[in-house]
Symmetry: D2
Subunit: 360 residues, 4 copies
């Protein structure tokens, strides 16, 4: 199992560095005869693209995806799908300032200690740019899900930026696409705008909490014990750059819950069961219950800030560093489409795995 | 990759149901010539064993481990290590009450929907009993780590039960083994005792938050992008029964942090770097930094309670259920050694993976 | 992926040494609700068992299989199936003669060089005894195939012992079970009997060629490029002890064939195609064509013979060795059921993999 | 595990169709700081390239490899290495003649039955063109081996074309590069030339037998039971297009050998053991013995011939087909560098796996 791959049947392998010739992703195990073209994938890349608004990085990549294999006459063939995105906007910046200095909070130091070599230009492999490949893979996964599970719908949104959380009473999925923060609560948009402007002005950055939800879920996805749906989702989300926590359903909230509050009661319903609550987030024993799947992840504030931080050089001498350039006051915003993509990939994989074992 | 296996090189495959003849675990890829006998593994099983005190389940299993393969004259041979624990105390209880009724908050319903069959006796494969196999595997992993990384030390402890969190100012690792809660804060023990007695008396249960920490960490464990150390730890911890959230380092706390607060500053130090804080929990870019590795996970309250809950039967008629029997007011207590074991397994695996790729 | 496991979805992990407490196998990913009990598996173990006739080893193991998990009320549950066979007949032999001496043609030397330790009793992990675990797994795989592909039939037989090959004109599948050699050609039985008696009298052993065939094959099993059905069959057969060559269809015979002879012509037929020959052995481009699947493998003569052979000791001094004890003049005979079992496992796995990707 | 991937640690995933925009390969798990540039890989592609001489296909691809990731300043970084080869010479041929007709001996029929769709242009994914990606991966593997095992040398050569086998008495490794057949026996070159000219003139094709050998082998590569070195080599070679048999050491020859002949005797020698023969082909119990590693594989004659063959159309009507175009009378010639590449990849992977488990 490649260390840059995830999935068991619908497998996703990403590759590429921020400032190399290209980044990309190979999807293997995709069902055949799924309608697919570059535009369907481009749609999701465009959603993710930086430079969309004043709160995300100004790097202006076209992020144009090329399909190199696995598609014939507008359909998947069942063979590996290779997607490539050329790196265009590799500004001829001078990266020598970080060549010999480790940026605190970045992977500079650990890559160096592990490999004894690092592509320091823009973070290399550890750049958030890698997430474009995930979003492209998610685009493929969504088409698979659309064919096999037409009722399924995946949507991600921001639930907290710094100290400012949405009011869940005001949640309205229809609002998500209408503001630059993917906020389902329209009333918080101005608060976040003001807060992020101040954060940027201070040369600082801030953390965020993102939620991704799937509605129209089938029952039965997941498997004991290390094939659990929540285990795979946790790994998928935690593998996104800067993620430091993953919650399913009530998540950390279960710590203070009593058993009598926590277990979601069931009533009979036509065509199945009517759960009376969804603290479990749609997963019991690692297997989907048919309720909405609910996952949250916390993104740390970007380490690239204008406030000087103490660090060391590769020769172990002290230094101070600020990171100039095009950086986001809240990288969590761009993580929303990435979280959606990861959920799509995990669900496509588990759908095929479930079909393998049970035939349904 | 088996759905009941984890790891890439040091692989752990657990098997068995709560009320079948036995449970067990196969460890493959273990380095040869590691000293190992049943007593070394039994040590950790004894720590986990229920019936240790009045706050954990009264099921009295000897949980005696048998080594069936892979050991010769007190040493590992490099071939698969099969460990078996016979199920002794399968009380001739009457499980017919749950044969046709789904316990809310349990995996009864989802197993049934997925497989169309379930071993309803004691939860079958989804029973917490499965975690004994993980603890046994963890015992093997610890011996590997002791041989290859003698400075490494893994310790788990309880940090919160219901609303009552420890005071980190009072944290003292030496206290952990002196109380039935694995508490590092001696002053909270009485609070927790009282609280859990009341919880049990009410026929209810409560959630908990467990932290596992590794000190003496090497740098370089982990790998981009889906071989990240934090991604694997998240999957490992989330796969433990009843876990609903996993945090690394500051975890959810990063949401409200500024970048200027979050990035751990570095100063030169003899023999390496001196980090000025450890919000990252010892992982940067998915690779260990040499700082303490810090993972937390939230355990939901046990669903087996004496308070009646509404549910349905397999024929979709309504019912009410209470779960009698030997059950814990706080299953989180027993999860502490399980979390330690999972971390040991993940670190042993990543140590071998790192050695494979880099030779060091 | 464990180094003692094979398969992608229907995974088989064997464990155990010849003279340890037990050997066994874990099957994971098995479909649920497949009827299964110990007797169904025992049937195949009994076929394989040594001591069946005067031409196979006189070790008298009951080889009684115990099901430890994964079965409930006579059906698979979809969870891991653990099968264990206790080692009973571990004669209190004196193995010290081989403790410090490497038997030529055995794995003694290579295990020692790799691991620096070896369980020398009876070959340890490299003993042919390990194949009992494969046969047990094959028994499970056959039940899966019986449920999902009722028309499929797998049969193995001997086609050559030493210089004496069967006459394919006389091939009669019904004969296979009527003689101790699994010969489909009744006329060669006496020749082989005489030949093997002479071989044993000379204290020597002899090689063999085994063929395994599946009839009633579906089309579409297999996948490009490293998921090829023939690639997986080759690995499966080559992994059996003492196998040195694997052929598909015409196998080595294709070297001298012209293209005009080799390509199997097709004619239309009701319900599909009528291939005019089967040189391909039922596989084109790594995917099954629906024709009979034909695999052959060559087994080297057992290295345990009564004729002294030169070797070295662990201290690199010269020695001579003969191997006394219960050994077969032609281990190839016992490999027939093993080859069948491996084919059953590979087909069960590919059936599930095909179902995963294509839904059929 | 992707179905288009092989390897456990040094993993190789190929992608691409004959007539799509490009083919390529991703190598993951490669050790860092291995010197590598495009020219080193191009060297091996140039050796494989068709159009080299009058006996191989006249398709004239530049086969220029581009490195898209994983290399920085002339060294591997430890991150995924993506190699791409653009398909240039996709002659604007008319493939409609095979769009609706299955070529006998090709994968046309089985891909169609499996996927319900096929990229019929030039064989799509099942084209021998895919092997260029393997050769590129082999180029990377060779650099890894050169760094870690400088004494190791891998060489492939032709040992039989049709009925004409080399005389092993005349074998001279130095001759291999001096003739268009990779023949180590200079005296057979004219025979083969004449034979292949006649074969082409007849519009026919012929099979071949290729041997690949590694000298300077370390002991200890491989692992029980499904991580056997011979098992992985068998899968690797059998996965090459048109291969129908794989032999290790004496291969099929062991069928007629006696045990007294087969087991390679050992004598003490300075610095180790002196094997007195090498019938085992350098592998005992799945683990390398330090002797030369010897693998052979049989390639069937190309199915693309000018002699009409009976077949069916997709609508199950009868047809006759001849395959015009640039095709080889003996595709086995081009398989020689592919076999070398596969051995290099398998050895690089097993070297890392061995290092993981044993540290050496």
């Amino acid at each position: 199992m490649s260390i840059n791959m995830f999935g068991r049947i619908f497998t996703v392998s990403t590759w590429g560095e921020s400032h190399g010739p290209a980044i990309g992703v190979m999807i293997d195990g995709c069902p055949p005869r799924i309608p697919l073209d570059a535009a369907m994938i481009q749609h999701w890349l465009d959603r993710r693209r930086p430079g969309q608004n004043s709160f995300t990085s100004q790097r202006r990549e076209a992020d144009a995806v090329e399909i190199l294999s696995g598609i014939f006459e507008g359909q998947t063939t069942g063979t590996p799908i290779q997607l490539m995105i050329r790196n265009i906007d590799q500004r001829s910046r001078d990266y020598t300032s970080i060549r010999d200095t480790f940026r605190p909070g970045h992977a500079d130091y650990t890559y160096w200690k592990k490999y004894g070599i690092r592509d320091y230009r823009g973070g290399g492999r550890s750049s958030a740019r890698e997430t474009a490949a995930r979003v492209a893979a998610g685009g493929v996964a969504r088409e698979v899900l659309k064919s096999l599970l037409p009722a399924l719908h995946i949507i991600g949104y921001m639930v907290q930026i710094g100290p400012h959380a949405i009011d869940r009473q005001r949640m309205d999925i229809a609002q998500i696409d209408t503001n630059p923060f993917w906020s389902p609560d329209p009333d918080i948009v101005e608060t976040w705008s003001d807060f992020l402007r101040a954060t940027r002005k201070a040369g600082d950055s801030i953390g965020a909490l993102v939620e991704v939800r799937a509605t129209g879920m089938p029952t039965g996805l997941g498997a004991p014990v290390y094939g659990k749906l929540d285990g795979d989702l946790a790994a998928a989300m935690m593998s996104i750059n800067a993620v430091k926590a993953v919650e399913i359903g009530d998540g950390l909230g279960v710590v203070t819950l009593k058993g009598s509050e926590n277990a979601d009661e069931m009533l009979p319903a036509e065509g199945g069961v009517a759960f009376q609550s969804n603290r479990a987030g749609g997963i019991l024993g690692g297997i989907s219950s048919g309720q909405d799947l609910i996952v949250r992840f916390a993104i740390k504030p970007a380490a690239s800030i204008l406030i000087p931080r103490r660090t060391i050089n590769t020769d172990n001498t002290p230094n101070e560093i600020i990171t100039k350039g095009r950086h986001d006051p809240c990288v969590g915003i761009r993580a929303v489409p990435v979280g959606e993509a990861m959920m799509a990939c995990v669900l496509a994989d588990h759908l095929l795995l479930h079909r393998a074992q049970t035939g349904s």
